[in-house]
Structure formats: C-alpha cells, structure tokens
Amino acid sequence: MSQAVQTELKMQVDGTEVAFVDGETIFEITQRLDKKVPTLCYDDRLESFGACRLCVVEVEGIRNPVASCTTKATPGMEVRTGTPSLEKHRKTLTEMVVSENQNAKGPEDPIKVDPLRGFASGELAELADRYEVSGDRFQGMTSGKSHEDDENPFILRDYDRCISCYRCVRVCAEQEGDYAISVMNRGFATQITTEFNNHLRDSACTFCGQCVQVCPTGALADRKAIKSIDLPEPIVKTRSICPYCGVGCSVDMMTKGEKVVGIQPAMDGPANAGALCIKGQFAFDFIQHPDRPRRPMVRKNGELVETSWDEALDRAAAGLRDARDKHGRHSIYGIASGRAPNESAYMAQKLIRAGFGSNQIDNCSRA
C-alpha cells in the first residue's frame, strides 16, 4: 500500500501564513507564535478544558469568538488573536474573575498573592495588571469558601480565592491519577472539594503538591513555603535534581538569602515534566535542620568531641595508614553512598583503588 505524501497544512494567524500539524489546537499554535493569548485554565500537560474563556479568538466565518484551547486548527482557517473587541471581552472576563476574590481573607492582597504560594499563583494578578483591572467594576457576590479547618501542614485551602478553573481537579486526575479533588454544586455555587467535603488526609490525596503548583490564584498554597513570606530577601530559584528516589525529578530550590524556603517542580524537567511527590515537594527542610553537625568530631576517651578539620582528617588518614601498615591493605574497606553525588562515589572508589590497590569498595545497593 503506497502512502500518500501529506501536504503541509497551512492557516492564517493575524494575516500571516502559518504551518501546523494535524490535531494542533489554535491555542497551541498561538503559543508557538508567542501571541500572548491569555488563559487561566490551560496546562499543556492536561486535556484542554475551555473553562475560563479568556483564550477566545476570532475565526473568519464564525460569528462568535471561539475558545482557542478547545478548537482544532483546520486548513485555510483565518484566525485573529488580539483585536480590540477580543481584548475588551477579555478585560470584562478578567474583571468578573477578579471581583470573585474581593473578600479573600488574610494578610495578603486578594489578587496579588506572594509567589511562594505556588508556581502559577501569580497568573491572575498578571492578567489583572495587563488589563488594568482593579476589581471595583463588579461587586457583591463572591464564590468559594475556604476550608480553614483542614490543618494539614502542606496544602492551604484558601478557596475564597478560587475561580473554578478546575486545574487542580484535572491535574489530580489526569497527571497524578489520584482523583482526590472533586467538585460540588454547580454554577456560581461551584466549590472545589474532596470526597465528602472532608480533609485532604481523609481523601485519596498523596500530598504531591501538584494542585498547589498549578493554581493560578494562590487559592491552594504551599503552607511550608509561605511561612517565609515575611523574609525580606528576594526569592532566588536554583535548578537541581530531587534528593529522594531514583526517578531524578528536576526541581527549583527556592531560597531567600541563605535560607531554603521551598521547592517548586521544574515544568520542563526531563524525568518528571513538572510532577513531584510529597517527599520531593515538601521534605526539604532537613537541609538546614538544627541537628546538622557543624564541625568534625573525633572520639576521645570514648566520646565524640568536636575538633578542627586538620585534626579529624589526620586521624582519618592515620586510621587507614595504621591498618595498612599493621594488617595489610586488604584490612581496609570503603562504603560509598547511593545518595551522595557521582563525584563522592568516584572519589571513594579512587581512594581505595588508587590509594590501596584493592577493590574493597561497595555502596548501599545491597540493602
């Protein structure tokens, strides 16, 4: 059977001809073209949902604007992404969304929340800035009620800031496969919740923190990170790899000054594509725990006592030298770490092989 050569698919975006592949949505194409089409519900890891309607575009021949995230491109389609009428429509939508959160409680601005709340937590505030929306055009009813009684130490459920974009529901179902987050009621009374409207601990939640990281308003927030909101230094992000299991998820360590204040997943991490688990997301504070030993120690009169590096290293070297000289080089053994970096394991084996000429080296993979 011969295969027909597929002709390149083309369409027009804002008057320019653009090639696309079968199945691409208009939104994906505008993203490629850096058209800055706004959205509050899209996440490229999840199925398009079309909840926020901010990504609407005009399509020639169709009377009303269409949601670009749920509309697939077709050959010859002519799309306009930023006409004054679309921008007016988007501004009105943003005003309505912003008005929803006016009664959000707490020390923070109802809209401009601290970035420590979560990876995407600034998205609504960015849109409010872009459309110069203050929140006083529509007033009155607000939706979403916070779950203040859920005292879990990881995830703040500040639903007064919720705009029902369903990202948390979708990431929990589609990305995590946990289906812990659900929706109750309809329309304006829509409330994001869990089974039986209970605490997260009593649901299928595994505290992976994905819902926190995708929330565009900070309604779900990283409770451990926001403890450091008041530190004056700017947030600095450093790319690294999670120290727990062997999957090797990419993370951004968030620091303020010399303090590690939280972890965010790297959305472009090759192993994890933005996903993390409870350990990678929330178990970072061992790094600066007061139990960390501050100085080397040597045993004197049966007790481990602090000393200088010089003395400790001399003692370590002497211990190895004595064993070699008195009992031979095979009386020395090294155990390297499966948690320390490659450079540690390499040097451990080099000390044994280049130093003592033996292969008396192992790591913790046997237990």
């Binding site: 130490p153 589609e174 990305q175 995590e176 595994t206 450093t238 790319r239 690294s240 727990y244 299991c245 062997g246 999957v247 090797g248 998820c249 360590m253 620091t255 090759p270 192993a271 409870i278 350990k279 061992f286 790094i287 600066q288 139990d291 030993p293 100085r295 080397p296 120690m297 040597v298 045993r299 481990l304 590096w309 400790a312 370590a316 211990g319 004595d322 064993a323 009386s331 020395i332 053994y333 090294g334 155990i335 390297a336 499966g338 320390a340 970096p341 490659n342 450079e343 540690s344 040097m347 451990a348 084996q349 092989r353 130093g355 292969n359 008396q360 080296i361 790591n363 913790c364 237990a367």
Partner: protein, 526 residues
C-alpha cells in the same frame, strides 16, 4: 532501566513485579497511570495488595519469595502456546531451545502450589504478556532482595528474551532504582567488581587501563562485598572502614551483628550530613555538605547524569565529599588527589568511563542525556539493545525455583516482608527531619490482616512482640487488608522499630544481597 521513563506511557501491557511504585517512585507511577488511561493493561504480582494492585487488571497475590516459580510457569505457558518470538530468539539470543525444553516441567498447576496464585491467573498473565505488542516489565527490590535475587532477574530476562520485548519503544526490563544516585554510585565504580563505567576489574585490558591511570598495581580479583566486609569486621579481620552517607546500622540486616562488627573496627570513619545511629559508632565523624549545598551530579534510574547545584552555603564547617576524600588521599601521600572542584572530578569520571566519554561538566549543565554517550557529538542512548545487545547475544538461564532461606515452622509461623512507605525515605535521616511528615506517618505500624488479628489473639492498635531467630522488636499492630492472611508487613524506616534486628535469614550467593523481603516470624500480644 533498558528504556527511558517517558516510555512508561507507551506499553500496551505492563507487568509490575516486586515494585510498590506509587509509594517508592510516585512520579514514575504517574506515567503508568497515563498508559492505563490510554488503554494499557497491567499485571501486578506482589504479596501485598498495594495501590498498584488496585489499579491493575490482573493481580497475582504471590506468596513472598515465590517469584521464580511464577516466572518459570509464565514462560512455560508462552512456550506451550507458541507465543515466543522465534525470529528474536534465533537472531539475538543463545540457549533458547534448551530453555523452551527446560520450562516444559514448570506448569501453572505446579507454580500454583508454590505461589498460592490460581493456575488460571498464571495462564492469563502469561497469555497477556506473550501476546503483547509492547510488553514492559518493571521491578524493584521485591525481586532482588531474596536469596534468589539474581535468578529472579534472570527469569524476567528470559520472558523478555523469548518474546522479543527488548530494544523497542515501550518494552524492556526496567529496574526502578530506589535511591537518587544508586545508579551513579555503580556507574562511578563504587562496586567491588567494576572500575568506573562497568569496566571489570578482572578484565586485563581495563585493569591495565586503570593501573596506568592511577599509577599503581590494582588487584585483578574482584573485592568482597559490604556484607562480607562486615562479617570480617566482626571476625576481627577487617580493621579500618569508611562509610559515606549510609546509615548501615538501621538499613542493613542483622542489626545487632552489624553494630558489633562496626564496634570491632580499629578505625571507623563516617562521612554524613547527620549524626546517624551509624555515626554514633565512629572514631572520626566528618560532616558533609548536604543536598542544596553541593555542586555535582546524580545519575537517575533511566541512566541520565543530571546536574545538582548548591543554592545555599554549607551548614557550619561541612565540606563536600569529594573534598574530604581528596584531603584524606593527600594526607596519605597518594597521587591524583589534588582536586579543587566537583567539575574537575566529574570531568575525570568522563575521561575514564566509556559510557560517560561524550559527557562533560559543561554538557550535563545543558542536557540530560542517557548513557552510553560514547562521544561528544553522540545524542545519548534512551533505549538500550536496539538491533543488538552490547555484549553479543542475550543469554537464557535455566534456573529452578528455590525456597527462601528460612520457611515457616511451628516456632515462626508467619511471613514478614519489609519495604518502604510514601512519606518516609530509608532510615528517615532526612524525612524524619522535615516538618509535617509525622502528620501523615507518626509511627511505624505492623500491617496484619484483620482476620489474623482475631485468630492470633492480637488487638488492632495495641503493641505486639515480633520475633525471628535473630531477635525481637515491639510494634503497634494495625488491621490492614493490604496484607494477605499469614503475611505481615512493616517498613525499616523508624529507628524506634528496628525491624532489621529480625531480618538477615540468608543472602543471594552472587550479589550477597540480603533476603530482606522474607523472614519467618512469631507474633505475640503484649
């Protein structure tokens, strides 16, 4: 892993055995869940009804330590039904004919007696895997921590070889490595049988290469394993030891024996980020910089060396491991220990290791490639064994089922199996010091089937004593249907419940890995 993590979204048949992936590798498990949503079928073999079992289409609740019997019987069915890939066997393997004859004896009915899984379910599992277009195998320590760990892995390889489920997207034999850099530790040569890059110490060429690189004679016999080294310490033959970043006392089997062995050394040097139970026995304790304070690289389970970066200054006077080892080497007058950065060390690894040859500090800062990366312009090798095996042909192994080192007796009538929990990592040196984790996991509990609790005169939530020939510990009992009748479970994470006092019934003769997954015990109410 023979295949990359991204491939976990692509099989049409997933076979998980001895892996509690949703708790131990949760992010990898999300990829399997995506494959399931896309229509893949999943077989899960595990003694415990873990969450992965709940997600499966076919759950095989095997008795602890009976994996080989199950896998041999699956091979039997595949051969009997003619589902083997004759072309793959002919072109790429050796021993196929013998193996097909070998498995004739191992019927599902025979395996059902041993595994306690109905023969019909073993048949079904074999048919599903045998008929799959893309069948992928995932396993963890539930396969390897047995006296027959090597045979279990070989039995899995037999299945993949006979069906040709290797060297293609969405297939493969995929061990999930448990610790962040356990792959890297092996890659870097911290094993008794290989130089960096899996170059055997007994291979004359590689031995000559490292003799030249390191400027001295190096034994051409493999070294002893850690297990044997601890035995020799107990016997007084091992005199000095360094332990870097491992809480041996809590994580290893036969805890009492292990403690005594370490105390018996003339000199124990411990390098760690915390004063662990193991550090308490040290003559010299050297504080290492932690993750977050250290520049370097980790190599993940899919063979990808990736950069880690320091974000904050070290606590106190702690120093990076590579610096500590360099200093010790210098003080002993050894050549080649004058390193000044992690970058220099990593670049040396690349210069001596064929699988890292095309990598450099600069390159891993920009790309995360799968080894082998033989040259600087090589794009990496996400899938191993495409078209051919690195070392010639795939070899079938004709093993037989062996009982665990200890089996049930009147004194020890219950199976104990150990493992890990989502919220704790190993011996909790790290997660035990992370705020909030105890909200979800405040203490270790012994999971016991509710009917067994009644039958054995125990009480849900009350303490019990659990004993093996090596020792006893006290632990609170929890009624839990994840445990099958007659088998109990707990993790080794909590120092308050030092379950490894009980384990250590036997060791795999080749790897000397302890049979941590099987330990007959007695349980008594307190």
């Amino acid at each position: 892993m023979s295949n990359p993590l991204v491939d976990m979204e692509k099989p049409d048949l997933i076979f998980c055995i001895g892996t509690n992936m949703t708790e131990c590798h949760p992010v990898a498990a999300t990829r399997l869940k995506k494959a399931l949503s896309a229509g893949a079928k999943m077989i899960v073999a595990d003694p415990r009804r873990i969450h992965l079992a709940e997600l499966s289409h076919l759950y095989l609740p095997i008795r602890v330590g009976s994996d080989t019997a199950l896998l041999l019987a699956m091979a039997h069915v595949i051969a009997r039904e003619g589902l083997q890939n004759e072309e793959f066997i002919r072109e790429r393997t050796v021993g196929g004919e013998d193996f097909i004859k070998h498995v004739e004896a191992f019927t599902p009915e025979w395996a059902a007696e041993i595994t306690e899984v109905p023969a019909a379910d073993i048949e079904k599992a074999a048919l599903w895997y045998g008929q799959a277009e893309k069948g992928a195998i995932y396993y963890t320590l539930g396969i390897t921590e047995h006296i027959c760990g090597v045979e279990n892995v070989q039995a899995l390889c037999n299945l993949a070889l006979m069906t040709g489920n290797l060297g293609r997207e969405g297939t493969g034999i995929n061990p999930m490595r448990g610790q962040n850099n356990i792959q890297g530790a092996g890659d870097a040569g911290a094993v008794p049988n290989n130089f960096p890059g899996f170059q055997p110490v007994f291979n004359p060429e590689s031995n000559a290469k490292f003799r030249k690189l390191y400027g001295r004679e190096i034994d051409d016999q493999k070294g002893i394993t850690k297990v044997r080294a601890l035995e020799m310490a107990a016997e007084g033959e091992m005199k000095a030891m360094f332990i870097c970043g491992e809480n041996t006392v809590v994580s290893d089997p036969e805890r009492d024996h292990c403690e005594q062995a370490l105390k018996n050394l003339d000199s124990l040097i411990v390098i760690d980020i915390f004063r662990t139970e193991t550090a308490e026995l040290a003559d010299v304790f050297l504080p290492a910089t932690s993750w977050g304070e250290t520049d370097g690289s980790f190599t993940n389970t899919e063979r990808r060396p990736q950069r880690i970066r320091a974000a904050v200054p070290p606590q106190g006077e702690s120093k990076p491991d590579w610096w500590i080892f360099s200093q010790i080497g210098q003080r002993l007058g050894f050549e080649g220990f004058d390193f000044e950065s992690a970058e220099q060390v990593f670049n040396e690894i690349c210069s001596v290791s064929t699988i890292y040859a095309g990598l450099s500090w600069e390159r891993i800062g920009k790309e995360a490639l799968h080894w082998p990366v033989p040259s600087a312009d090589h794009p990496g090798t996400p899938i191993l064994h495409i078209g051919k095996f690195e070392n010639g042909r795939g070899i079938f192994t004709n093993m037989k089922y062996r009982d665990p080192a200890e089996t049930l007796s009147a004194d020890y009538p219950v199976w104990l199996t150990t493992g890990r929990r989502l919220e704790a990592y190993h011996t909790r040196t790290m997660t035990g010091r992370a705020a909030g984790m105890d909200y979800l996991l405040p203490e270790e509990l012994l999971e016991v089937h509710p009917q067994d609790i009644t039958d054995w005169g125990l009480e849900d939530g009350a303490k019990a004593q659990i004993s093996s020939p090596r020792g006893s510990v006290q632990i609170r009992v929890q009624a839990n249907r994840r445990s099958p009748r007659g088998t109990v479970f707990c993790s080794f994470s909590f120092d308050e419940v030092p379950i490894n006092r009980l384990t250590g019934s036997g060791y795999d003769p080749i790897t000397e890995t302890a049979e941590l997954k099987v330990c007959p015990v007695r349980i008594e109410a307190l």
